[in-house]
């Protein structure tokens, strides 16, 4: 008889496979997480056909914002809604009662976030290029920034989702609390409108949160460098962007570890 427990990483990878299976079998999650951003792209791309600058269409600006939003949708939103659901259904408590290491659960979540994030980004890029004349960056440095933003942005978004998952009291409350937070942040962060057109106070509120910086970072990838002077600071602020993401990563990690709950509250 073997007494060796399976490793946390091996179980985590199995959990990832299981999470992906469950994700795609739930129509609501597929529609809500993957399809909804495409519908938004179709609407905004069709309504706003103006040019923001020579060679910069609203669609180009909007796709950059939507890709930043994809990191929030597949990370923060998905995690902060589904963890309370799992908690309500007793899934987390059941797991807590098994020898599954806690790390495996989060590895599984990271895998499902990564897969759904990559799918969503690819879908947005494809739809943008095919239907709305979006042009892709050509320089290697742009793609390096893009990849770094995807990885760090997805990570911070997921960890903040875990931290936020203890806020909703139950499954029903989860989407009612999380969705408005995300939508308001999207408005404030210059996803739906040109950021510099927003009122000053909105810009200042948005600057506290990572989405504004992810959006700006994605603009630095998808918009020509000549557009940088039209940003608030007059440049892309790439260093500051990653610094703020880094700070939120640490804050999120501390909050997530201190507040995570495996069981629903008892009344």
């Amino acid at each position: 008889m073997s007494n060796q427990l399976p490793g946390a990483l091996a179980i985590g990878i199995k959990r990832g496979g299981l999470e992906i299976k469950q994700f795609f079998r739930q129509k609501e999650s597929v529609v809500f997480t993957l399809l909804f951003p495409l519908i938004l792209l179709a609407i905004f791309g069709s309504v706003f056909t103006t040019k923001l600058a020579p060679g910069v269409t609203f669609s180009q600006y909007f796709v950059a914002g939507m890709i930043a939003s994809a990191l929030v949708n597949t990370g923060f939103q998905q995690i902060a809604i589904f963890i309370p659901v799992e908690r309500d259904l007793g899934a987390l408590k059941r797991l807590r009662g098994t020898p599954m290491p806690a790390a495996s659960y989060f590895i599984g979540k990271a895998i499902v976030v990564t897969v759904s994030m990559v799918i969503q980004v690819v879908l947005l890029l494809l739809a943008g290029v095919i239907f709305f004349g979006v042009t892709l960056p050509t320089g290697a440095d742009k793609w390096i920034t893009f990849t770094a933003l995807l990885i760090s942005g997805s990570l911070v978004s997921t960890i903040l989702g875990v931290a936020f998952s203890s806020v909703p009291k139950n499954a029903r409350g989860a989407s009612a609390i999380v969705s408005p937070v995300v939508i308001i942040l999207q408005f404030f962060s210059g996803v739906f409108f040109v950021f510099t057109d927003l009122p000053k106070w909105m810009q200042q509120v948005a600057a506290v949160f990572p989405l504004k910086w992810l959006t700006q970072g994605m603009r630095s990838v998808f918009l020509p460098d000549s557009f940088a002077k039209r940003e608030i600071a007059g440049n892309w602020e790439t260093g500051r962007t990653f610094a703020i993401i880094g700070i939120w990563l640490i804050v999120g990690m501390v909050l997530a570890i201190r507040t995570f709950k495996w069981d629903r509250d008892r009344s």
Binding site: N3, Q4, L5, L18, L89, G90, K93, R94
Partner: protein, 284 residues
């Protein structure tokens, strides 16, 4: 026999409310032990402390020689040896029975065979159906399957048959008896007295955070020596008599009636009668 679960003077309060007041019990290896009691008696808190979900305020607790309050790697090694079936869970809805059980098997060092577990819990025909399509009784049997896949030495069952129809309940009892035959120690909480009677080797009756008595179902509350009640029809009214010797009493009765005694019945106190009188006495 050595004891698998040993509890001495367990206390637990939530704020000012003391929900477990110095509870002690000892459960032997291979035993089915039932904890009975009304809602709010402290059953769930006690069991959740034994399962390691909650920590006691004071007392000595040992489950398989380990304090359930341990954390870290040692806790995982301990969890590898226990199985927990919680109250009504609805998770893994989008997974098939086989997928869920196969996945949970991967958490343990020495799991049972997945197909064996599926047939043991009577879900062979449902093995490839999604969990959400299962009936209440089937769903509960999946929960048990997930609880026993790791080959636990101790199995915790929290109100396992709530909402079952009588037939499903009988099928479930057979499953639990099979697990006992394999040597699993089982701690059961239930609201159903007939379930405790059918399954448990010993029962503990709990009320207001205290154990009133621990005994076999047949002997609880002096049941084995309790008086029988003989009742029969006398003209228009039902008469009844409490007696220590119902056979003698019926003999005299039958000589009076010279033939069938109308609507004769002999009633011995059920576990439920005993239980209700015990709970009633402490609530007065």
């Amino acid at each position: 026999m050595n004891s698998v679960i040993e509890v001495k003077s367990l206390r637990k309060s939530y704020g000012d409310l003391e929900v477990v007041k110095g509870l002690s019990l000892s459960i032997k290896s291979g035993e089915i032990f039932a904890i009975l009691g009304p809602n709010g008696a402290g059953k769930t808190t006690t069991v959740e402390i034994l399962e390691g979900f909650r920590t006691a305020d004071s007392g000595e607790i040992s489950v398989l020689g380990t304090d359930p309050a341990i954390r870290g790697g040692a806790a995982l090694a301990w969890r590898n040896r226990i199985g927990i079936v919680l109250q009504s869970t609805q998770d893994t809805a989008e997974l098939t029975v086989r997928e869920a059980i196969t996945h949970f098997a991967s958490y343990y060092s020495n799991p049972r065979d997945v197909n064996d577990v599926i047939s043991l819990v009577g879900l062979a025909e449902k093995a490839d159906d999604r969990a959400r399509t299962l009936s209440g009784g089937q769903r509960r049997r999946l929960d048990v399957g997930l609880g026993i896949i790791g080959r636990p030495e101790v199995l915790f069952l929290d109100e396992p048959t709530t909402g079952f129809d009588p037939e499903a309940r009988r099928a479930f009892w057979l499953l639990i008896k099979k697990l006992k035959e394999e040597g699993t120690t089982i701690l059961l909480t239930t609201h159903y007295l007939d379930e405790a009677e059918a399954l448990a080797d010993r029962v503990a009756v709990m009320n207001r955070g205290e154990i009133l008595e621990i005994s076999t179902p047949a002997q609880l509350g002096g049941r084995a020596h309790a008086q029988a009640r003989v009742s029969w029809r006398e003209g228009e009214v039902i008469e009844s008599e409490q007696t220590d010797s119902p056979t003698e009493f019926i003999k005299t009765l039958s000589s009076r009636f010279s033939g069938e005694i109308p609507e004769l019945s002999v009633h011995r106190p059920t576990l439920e009668d005993i239980y209700l009188s015990m709970i009633g006495a402490t609530n007065e």
